[in-house]
Structures are given as C-alpha cells and as structure tokens.
C-alpha cells in the first residue's frame, strides 16, 4: 500500500524546542516512508539552523497551558532552562537526537533545508551564520515552486 502524499513541505516559523522537533520528526518520518520532504525556516525558525543558536533552543513555559506551570512561575528566572533540561533528558531516553545531529540526519536523508530570504535580511544574517548543510536561501515564491508535483502538502508550524 502506498500513500497518496508524495512530498511534504514544512514552514517552521518558531524556534521553541517543541515546534522544531515537531517539524523535524515529521520531515524525517516522511523520508523514512519514501516521501520527499523539505523545511523552510522563517522568522524565529531561523534560530534552529544558526550554528551558534541551535543547541540553545528552549521549551516555552509562558503562555503554554499544557506545561501546567502557572504563567507567573513560568516567567521566573531559570524555570524555562529547567523545563528545557528535563525535556531534553526525556527525549534522550527515547533516542531523539539533539537539534544539530537531527539536522545532519535530515540532510543526509535527502530532506532539503532552506532559509527564508526576507527573514535572513531582517535579522541581518549571513550564509556563514547557518549550518553547512543548508541548501540555500529562498524567497517564499521559490519555496512554493518546490511544490512541483501531485500529492504535495505544505504545513505551517
């Protein structure tokens, strides 16, 4: 039985751990099923592909009711770091790779990784700020053009 989805295009606009992993797990999962996948990193999503920042992503403890931490507490110094540490520990138990290694796996698996041109300019970033595995910097129009076959889905995260 083969799926009708042939290509998954993800737009990652946030850089909280939970959002980055959601995109990465789905993009990797697609490749593992023989589905093409690509990720377009825009706005804060760009943090996930910046060499200096990618290992320092945090989970959001404020404005995240599912964390079951009162918003006031979630904003206290150290709470976000602690929650992040705990989450990373749980992920390691499940053999989930850290962000940097996950990006390597994705790239080796044939998942294309793109940075959004507008956001790159807005944050005054340069190509050297990004991981070596980055496939390039695209406009949103270029990215839409990647949806070049039947069975392509675009997902905004």
């Amino acid at each position: 039985m083969s799926t009708k989805v042939k290509k998954m295009l993800f737009i990652l606009s946030k850089a909280t751990i939970e959002n980055a992993y959601a995109a990465f797990v789905m993009a990797n999962g697609a490749r593992m099923e023989g589905i093409e996948s690509e990720i377009f990193f825009t706005f804060f999503g760009l943090e996930a592909i910046q060499k200096k920042k990618l290992e320092h992503l945090h989970v959001a403890t404020v404005g995240n009711p599912a964390m079951h931490i009162p918003t006031m507490l979630g904003g206290l110094p150290g709470v976000e770091a602690l929650a992040t540490k705990m989450m990373k520990k749980e992920m390691e138990k499940l053999d989930m790779p850290p962000i940097g290694e996950f990006l390597e796996i994705l790239s080796d698996s044939g998942c294309k990784l793109w940075a959004c041109k507008l956001a790159v300019e807005m944050f005054h970033l340069e190509e050297k700020d990004f991981i070596d595995d980055l496939d390039g910097i695209l406009t949103i129009g270029d990215f839409y053009n990647r949806a070049d076959q039947e069975g392509t889905q675009i997902l905004f995260i």
Binding site: V25, L94, D95, S109
Partner: protein, 102 residues
C-alpha cells in the same frame, strides 16, 4: 497469512513482513528484495546482518542507530534501499517493521 516466496509457503503479516524468522534464508531474502526492486550486493548483506543482529539482541532500530552503526551511513542507506530504507530493509531482513517514529 501465507505467501509464496522462493517457491515456499512463508507466513507473513498483512504488510508482507515475515512472522517467523526461522523461515528466512538467503533465497527468501533475495526474492523479497527483488519485489522491492533491490538487487542484493555485498553492502546490502552487511546491512541485513546488522539489522538481524540488532533484532536478536532486541535493540530497537532507528535512523539514528544507523548513523552510529559504523556499518553504513545514512546517505548510503537511502541509496541501497530507496523509498523508505528502514521499512524496506527490515522487510528484506525478515524481521518486524520498526515501530519507532524516529
């Protein structure tokens, strides 16, 4: 259910994965590989042996595990078993399909 593989009746599940590893041998393996459009080479056998060894030790399979295996890297793995490498390779190896999402 039963499936005729290499002129033998083999027990498989609804996705074609072998139920009883004892029924697996090189002949069965090559037949399943053929159905997946994979022509077995020395490197394929090496990977199959690695996967079966992991299965014997009851260690879960993941793409990260492949990266660390020392047997093959991820790019080669995708080239050897196109269209879902872990899914295809375990099918050919006669072991269950991995349940992990990573």
């Amino acid at each position: 259910m039963k499936k005729l593989i290499a002129n033998r009746e083999i027990d498989v599940n609804e996705e074609g994965y072998l139920i009883d590893f004892k029924q697996w041998d090189r002949e069965v393996c090559e037949c399943i590989a053929g159905e997946c459009n994979v022509v077995m080479t020395e490197k394929h056998w090496e990977v199959i042996e690695y996967l079966q060894d992991k299965h014997r030790k009851e260690e879960p399979l993941s793409i990260r595990g492949i990266k660390r295996s020392g047997v093959i890297n991820i790019k080669e793995f995708y080239n050897l078993f196109p269209g879902g490498p872990l899914k295809k390779s375990t099918l050919i190896a006669g072991i269950p399909k991995p349940k992990s999402c990573i």
